[in-house]
Assembly symmetry: C2
Homo-oligomer: 235 residues x 2
């Protein structure tokens, strides 16, 4: 495990991040990438050993992830990767939508022209990749698009809270992004959002973002329905 970064000669004392934070980052990435699948146990001793750290900082990392809602901990039970139900995801997406609507409005005031151009460029890149079989790439740009809008508000609290919801929704949104139809509709939504940003029209941006995320809820409903169907098929 390469958590302990080498101190280079040039930077004898680098601004050490807490080990627990680094661990949280590693585990978060593994969860988002699905290497740690929802419902899976994360035994403390075993995981700590695998990462080459002791239980204390591992625990700190797990607590961070618990606060983010990615991991659930209960007494005398191994921490477990969260596996939200549809209604939970629905709740999360409603909040996410409210956050992004606010972000869209603030962006109209706060975003620089460069930032808006950058967001527009992301949109163009997605359009170019909409029929790309490599879904991961498409999806990552999609997420970056939303993040960029939020980042342009320069509101640290909003950015942080949005990021947390982003993490919790990552997997399910990834699953729903596999549907071609959903991607096509998303492109239309994104186009309108970019247009609104260019015009710095708060109402348009915010209402289009709402439409976009409400649509995402419907896509996710389908994903859950499919999963349910395939589950009962194997019974």
């Amino acid at each position: 495990m390469a958590l302990k970064q080498e101190n280079t000669i040039d930077l004898p004392s680098l601004p050490r991040q807490r080990l627990g934070e680094q661990i949280a980052d590693v585990l978060r990435e593994q969860i988002l990438l699905g290497q740690l699948s929802p419902g899976k146990n994360i035994p403390e001793r075993e995981t700590a050993a695998a990462l080459g750290v002791s239980r204390t900082p591992l625990r700190e990392g797990l607590l961070v992830l618990e606060a983010e809602g990615l991991v659930e901990m209960s007494p005398s039970k191994s921490p477990v990767v969260a596996n939200p139900s549809f209604v939970e995801v629905n709740h999360l997406l409603l909040v996410q939508s409210a956050l992004e609507e606010l972000a869209g409005e603030c962006a109209c005031d706060e975003a620089t022209q460069d930032e808006i151009d950058e967001i527009g460029a992301m949109h163009q890149m997605m359009v170019a990749n909409v029929q790309e079989p490599d879904q991961i790439k498409f999806f990552q740009i999609d997420m970056a698009f939303h993040e960029a809008i939020v980042a342009s508000t320069k509101n640290p609290s909003l950015i942080k809270t949005h990021k947390q919801y982003h993490s919790r929704l990552w997997r399910v949104r990834f699953l729903s992004a596999r549907h071609r139809e959903a991607r096509d509709k998303a492109m239309v939504d994104h186009g309108r959002i970019v247009e609104g940003l260019r015009l710095r029209d708060k109402d348009q941006v915010s209402s289009e973002i709402r439409i976009h995320l409400r649509r995402a809820i419907e896509n996710i409903r389908i994903v859950f329905a499919e999963e349910e169907a395939s589950k009962s098929a194997t019974d």
Copy 2:
């Protein structure tokens, strides 16, 4: 310190909450009540000894509060109670407003009639106490009013996130609630919000909440200006 609860004979094994959580609750309350004032250091060893616990769970509690934004921790420095600037508070309130606007909309769908009546009763109680010299009581009902609206949505994520922003804004909102004029205006806003809830009119509720919280920002601007003035007067 009474953190270790006595096991009664009737309840030999009660559902123990993590010690760190309890510590976070204690410290949070002390911070909100101002017993731990903003900017104050919270040395780990000393505080742990004062609470009669060891550093590990105290640290866990501090990490919770750090995640909530109530405490700031940096390497080789004592944790310190957060002391947000006006622009930070402004950022926080914008998010809080978006969350409560969403809550208002959802409440129109999800709140039971009883819950709306209860919220209306809180409002009446505030109106009755608006000229009460005991500001603490008035303020607590004010906070409970907003919490009740959010709670009626039955959206756990929304409730949790809102609560965190609530904590971070507690002190400054308490300070701004001291102004009589602000309280009068708040009563008018609240009345319209309750009216909207009774009609289950999403647009009215959400827009009135927005007006109410945007007004709060202005009140807080005044508080910061006064503080700044009194500070330069003592120079």
